[in-house]
Symmetry: C2
Subunit: 213 residues, 2 copies
Amino acid sequence: MSSAADKAYTGIRSLILDGTLPPGEQLKEEELAERIGVSRTPIRDALRRLEAEFFITRSDSQRSFVADQSVEDIDEIFTLRAMLEGHAAARAATVGGAALATRLREIVDKAGNGGDVDAFLDHNADFHAEIIAGAGSDRLATMLARLVSQPIVHRTARVYDKGQFERSLFEHRELVEAIERGDAEWARSVMTSHIRRAFHVFEEAAQALKREK
Amino acid sequence: MSSAADKAYTGIRSLILDGTLPPGEQLKEEELAERIGVSRTPIRDALRRLEAEFFITRSDSQRSFVADQSVEDIDEIFTLRAMLEGHAAARAATVGGAALATRLREIVDKAGNGGDVDAFLDHNADFHAEIIAGAGSDRLATMLARLVSQPIVHRTARVYDKGQFERSLFEHRELVEAIERGDAEWARSVMTSHIRRAFHVFEEAAQALKREK
DNA sequence: ATTGCCAGTTTTGTATACAATTATTCGAAA
DNA sequence: TTTCGAATAATTGTATACAAAACTGGCAAT
């Protein structure tokens, strides 16, 4: 991908993810351009992209703001994700066949069951990507990509403890089994629960964090 | 909205909708700029927007092409739309309350039951917009807006006959009733059928068109 | 005190020139 | 004929200057 626009995209994204630009903050093209070290043109591109991915919202007068991340917003994202990805799993079970099941099993087998957060995140990303690809729907894949690039989704896994990693892996294995047998509704259910559970883990962690303060 | 970018967006959209730019055709920024009468900058904006709405796709080297519209593509769009809008209806039934039901009933009552295609399209757009707004989920609304702006969705109603308009109105009334009673699953089912039926109407019309040739 | 409006400031929109990348053509070698 | 590569053309990317629009603050009228 083009260098400056990519730099702008990842740069702004990082500033949002690490909290430098908090929710509600206005994003000014010129300021960002100076900060990232590119001109306004690639910044504008990046803002459009981030808007498509729900990272930022635009006012009616075209001003950009960092999107909210209230618990309601997160709930909304997880709900949509559960629905869309449940659908992806169902379709994958229908059209993926044995080949998909084999690829998924390989990914699951490679996953260490240790507590390495980054290793789990890699495995998790691979696994979900394979299922989404297996569903064979470009638009579905695009919509999910836009939803899942949301900051909060990334952070959720950080609050997982060892037991939750294991539980996730167990669910992944069950999903492989469902897909192996071509049972669409089983696959959908497992995926839906898998994602809804992730939401509640996050929710509890967020509340615990709030109590600490 | 800004004038040139808007002109570019609607201009390119029209060129795609009326078939001047057929599926698969490459869109060249400079050529479009000349054609529409603006510079490349607003054209680029418009292309990004049209990409978000699945009107165009980009190659790995960032070249833009008019998106395919095979029956499979249409099926995919209607399937996603049925799922998302079914969810919207369910949520609307849960959170919308009597106020939403009243607004919906007004829209339905205002709809003439004659065969005026444009009048029906207006009513239909209003009705669905009200339900989506009633669901109170910005991201869901955004995703649906992107899906439904697809060319084919617009064209579907054109092939409706009088009986199908009446059937649509009937379903709208049933939806109001479900929302009035706060029955989320009833609302979801009616909406899902409503949209899936629309798909099959389109599908048949497409096949009939093919046979004529 | 409140409202409305005007001037100044800030921010985004647009055009355009040039740079970088990607595709294509054409000819030479196998 | 086919394939490879270099030259050339076509296309998209980026920076920048200027235009247009939106916001802000203060002042006047009520």
